[in-house]
């Protein structure tokens, strides 16, 4: 069954489940959330410098509305894990993730956060942040360029804007 029909079915199912008003409000909210992520500053290693470069005048993350880097997880809804996750910092990252309020997403930036990267066989590195927290978007690269960080965040925007597609992928798996 082609994707458009499937999406059509999902929309109908969401509509029936929530009723006309709430479904539209949800769509509006997801649109708003997608266009204004507030990332918590979880810069660990070299990818953090590329994340800073993304926040600076040349690449300028504020063209997309994601430039508000909040230091405390209480005011953030997106965690960009930028850098190597060592086993010593793993519980701390898990706790910071838990302390973020509910509509939250995680972007694993860089091959260290994806699967341990060049240090995967080291005794003190966690092979991938998805072992401890659910990750939504993986961005390859060591360190990924700011443009690929934006591309990854745009994929997250798609994912947030239409959760039906997410269910599609889950069922599709």
């Amino acid at each position: 069954m082609d994707v458009a029909k499937e999406k059509e079915l999902r929309e109908a199912e969401a509509l029936a489940e929530k009723g006309i008003i709430l479904a539209n409000v949800d769509k509006l909210l997801n649109w708003a959330r997608g266009h204004s992520f507030w990332p918590v500053t979880q810069g660990l290693a070299c990818c953090a410098i590329e994340m800073m470069a993304a926040g600076n005048p040349r690449f300028d993350i504020s063209r997309f509305g994601w430039e508000v880097f909040r230091a405390s997880p209480r005011q953030a809804d997106l965690m960009i894990v930028a850098g190597t996750v060592t086993r010593k910092i793993a519980p701390i990252i898990r706790r910071v993730y838990d302390q973020m309020p509910e509509p939250k997403w995680v972007v694993a930036m860089g091959s260290c956060a994806n699967a341990g990267g060049p240090f995967a066989d080291s005794y003190s590195v966690l092979p991938g942040v998805d072992k401890i927290i659910p990750v939504d978007v993986y961005i390859p690269g060591c360190p990924p360029r700011p443009e690929s960080l934006f591309f990854g965040l745009m994929q997250l925007q798609q994912k947030v804007a239409n959760p039906a597609k997410v269910r599609l992928m889950k069922h599709g798996k």
Binding site: R95, V96, Q99, P103
Partner: protein, 118 residues
């Protein structure tokens, strides 16, 4: 001086209702799933250490006192500043005596070092 207080009334009502709406909106729309881990105090990701209920330094309390004293003074100045032309010179002189008295208080606070930052 226009005295249509209706505008002030509308502003007052709107000023009360608008914050209430802003408070209620998240309760309706935002998902609310507290769990034990989320409710622990945030200390850069670590286990919270040390007692939070700690006797803080007394200088902080002095600043609060000095501030409220002169804030109340300004509250008295506002109505006077709006209408002192109609009240004539007596109120004018009266207010300056009031300010001078408070200046003495300010000088004393300064001398006693209440304004020194730790």
């Amino acid at each position: 001086m226009s005295d249509n207080f209706a505008a002030v009334g509308v502003l007052l009502v709107f000023a009360m209702i608008f914050p209430i709406i802003m408070v209620i909106m998240p309760k309706i729309l935002a998902p609310h799933r507290p769990d034990r881990e989320k409710l622990t105090p945030y200390e850069c990701g670590n286990e919270p250490i040390g007692r939070t209920w700690v006797g803080f330094k007394s200088n902080y309390f002095l600043y609060a006192l000095v501030f409220t004293a002169f804030d109340v003074e300004i509250v008295f100045l506002y109505p006077w500043a709006l209408t002192f032309r109609k009240l004539g010179t007596f109120a004018f002189v009266e207010m300056f005596i009031f300010i001078i008295i408070l200046l003495v208080g300010f000088w004393y606070a300064w001398k006693e070092g209440a304004l020194e930052w730790m």
